[in-house]
Structures are given as C-alpha cells and as structure tokens.
C-alpha cells in the first residue's frame, strides 16, 4: 500500500487482496520472459494474456522460480539435466518493470542456491536419498510491486561460471526456459472486498 500510494494508486486498497502467480515460457528462445506473453498459448505456456495487469490489479512479488518445458512441452521442475546444461551453469536475469531494472544481474545457479531464505531441496524421484536443487529466489527484506498497467519482463542469459562462456539453450534437446512470479495479488473488484 505504501508503494501503491506513492504511485498514485489511491483505490488499490479497495480491491480484492489475494494470492497469485504468473508464469511464462520463452518458447521463441530469445532470452525474454513475459515480454512476448501475448503470443503464447494459455495455459500451457503462460497464464497471462499480456505483460501488464489491468486497471487496479497488481502483484507484489515475493518469490521468483525458474523451470523448463521439455521438448514435448511437459513442465519439469529443473533447469537441468538437459543435454547442454550442467551444474556449473548460471542463469543471469534482470527483472524490468516499466523502464526500470528492479533486479539486476541476478543469478540462478543450476547447481542450486542461493535461495536467500532456505534451500529446502526437493526429494528426487530417482531415490529417497537424493535431492535436487530449487531454482528459486525468495526476495529479501522487501517485495517488488508490479503496478497496474505497467509492462514488465524478465531478460536472461545463461553462462558457465567455470569457463565464462555464454550458452545457448537448444529447444530440441534442452527444452525451453520458463519462470514464475509468485506473491500477493490484487484483483480488480467493483464490490466489497471479501
């Protein structure tokens, strides 16, 4: 509400508070998520029709998670194993709202961490002793607000941190990169909030 008021969104507090998540898939393999969401299939590839919220709708991001669709379009919770991606790779992304970079050069290490809050690895399906890393960041200290009617996107690249080389995802073998933004949602509501 503080940010909303600063941005002049004086009626946002009359809308329906909720919990929400938006996701999108980079099926064009151009290193952009959400920016081209209007061209993507609902709900297989995205759950938004465009990369901005309608009037009096907003999202306060509390966590960001990456995953991938395999070449058959099946969601996988891992960025790897994939033919071209290894544990020393790192996905580096910017979160852009309007014309401002609000998270810059933020890494998601394919080997896991830093999750900034807790790693909480997922038990692997191959064996009970195995765990697989989360490719997720819990935002520290302050959430980030995506206001109504402002475009947002994620721009990312993948590197290997041992060689420094930039890597190109191969959609045929590696699948396609996707991301979730999860947090407190404000939904347009003309009546009393429940």
């Amino acid at each position: 509400m503080y940010v909303a008021n600063k941005l002049g969104l004086s009626t946002l507090n009359q809308m329906q508070g909720s919990t929400g998540a938006v996701y999108d898939t980079d099926i064009s393999n151009v290193g952009i998520l959400f920016g081209n969401a209007s061209q993507h299939t609902f709900p297989a590839q995205t759950n938004v029709t465009e990369n901005k919220f309608e009037v009096n709708s907003a999202l306060l991001i509390e966590t960001i998670a990456f995953y991938r669709l395999d070449s058959q379009g099946v969601p996988l919770n891992l960025l790897f194993p994939a033919n071209g991606l290894v544990g020393t790779d790192v996905l580096v992304f910017d979160l852009i709202i309007g014309n401002k970079v609000v998270m810059k050069d933020t890494p998601i290490f394919l080997g896991g961490g830093p999750t900034t809050f807790a790693s909480m690895p997922k038990v692997d399906t191959f064996g009970q002793e195995a765990t697989i890393p989360r490719h997720q960041i819990f935002l520290e200290g302050a959430g980030i607000l995506i206001p109504p009617q402002v475009e947002w996107s994620i721009q990312y690249s993948i590197y290997n941190f041992t060689t420094g080389a930039k890597k190109q995802v191969n959609p045929q073998t590696d699948g396609t990169i996707a991301a979730y933004l999860f947090g407190t949602r404000v939904l347009l509501n003309f009546n009393t909030t429940l």
């Binding site: 020393t88 050069d105 290490f109 080997g111 896991g112 830093p114």
Partner: protein, 191 residues
C-alpha cells in the same frame, strides 16, 4: 534485532549515503581459480571476466548502491561440468573484509567439514550432499551459510571474501555468492 531494511537504512543514513534507491534483493558473485594456493580471494580481480563469472566490475558497489549480506554461498566446480564438495575433505575457513574491517573472521563454512559436511543451521544446503545414483551433471550441493548478524556493504566501500584451507582447491573454479537485501540506483518512484 534490527531488520535488514532498517539496518541498511541506519547505516546509509549514518554515512550520508542516498536512501532513495530501488529496494531489491541483491545477489553478487565472483569466481576464482586458486590452483595450488591455499587461499582464494573473491571480489578483488575482475579482469577478463564475463557476466557468468562475476556480476560486478569492481570490488565495491556503486555510489548509490548498498546491500546487506544475509547469506554466503560457495561452490566448487569442475571446468565445464558439475560441482564437487567445497575443499574436498579439508577445513575451509571464510573471512569477509569490508573497508579496513574484518567483519567475519576465520569462520568454518560448515561443521564436520569434508565429504560429510553439514550446514550449521537446519535449513540450508550442505557442502557435500550427494545426489546418489542420480545422473545429474551437478551431483553436489553448494555450501550455504546464513549469517546471524547482517553485514552491511555501504556504497563505494571496498570489500572482499577470503577462503583458506589446509588442502588446496586444485584446478577447480570456486564461486562465492553474497545475497541479501539491497538498493540499486533508481530515478523516480520505486516499485
């Protein structure tokens, strides 16, 4: 204990640093290949590094940026492939130096160091958790250390992280990640 947000605001205010930047989650990282040396220093040398090897270009934050270190993460990686336990079966000690002050001194990155190393708290990754029997290219978890006392990196202040071991790191690449709450330059309203 002061929150990360209020602590950063307090220090910025005491130093006269800008406090109006975009609030965000800030993660900075750097890599080194120490070879046979028993020490490795991060955030000191940036020559020739790509964005995949470091997301800073100097060993300090910009004039309008500051951050709070809440979590320190280390990884040791084979060139072009997966991870391996940090420091193998040797003790690894971590120091953090901000300005001319040592703010973390010779802290073991986890207890029971080696291939059975465990994090001090119960939430974070161990140095050497093996994904047994799983055909992952990364078969080791990183080492993650959650600080009990937040460390502030003010604007324009040199900082670096030092690892020391009684063994050596071989030809593997070491990665150090500092993460927490931060502020980045922002003109106009923050989101």
């Amino acid at each position: 204990m002061a929150s990360q947000v209020s602590k950063l605001n307090y220090v910025d205010r005491k130093l006269g640093a800008p406090t109006s930047g975009q609030q965000t989650t800030r993660i900075v990282y750097d890599t080194v290949v120490p070879g046979t040396q028993k020490t490795a220093e991060f955030f000191k040398n940036f020559a020739g590094k790509s964005l995949g090897q470091s997301n800073l270009t100097q060993g300090k934050l910009d004039s309008s940026e500051s951050m709070v270190i809440k979590t320190i993460t280390f990884m040791e990686g084979f060139t072009g492939s997966g991870l391996t336990p940090l420091g193998a079966a040797h003790h690894v000690l971590c120091s953090v130096i901000v300005g001319n002050q040592t703010v973390v001194k010779n802290l073991p990155v986890n207890f029971n160091q080696g291939i059975t190393g465990q994090p001090f708290d119960r939430l974070h990754a161990a140095a050497s958790t093996t994904n047994q029997g799983v055909p992952f290219n990364s078969d080791m978890s990183p080492t993650e250390l959650r600080l009990l006392t937040d460390i502030v990196i003010p604007p324009q202040t040199d900082f670096y992280v030092k690892l020391e071991t009684d063994g050596d790191f071989g030809e593997n690449t070491l990665l150090c990640v500092l993460s927490g709450y931060g502020k980045i330059f922002s003109a106009g309203s923050s989101f």
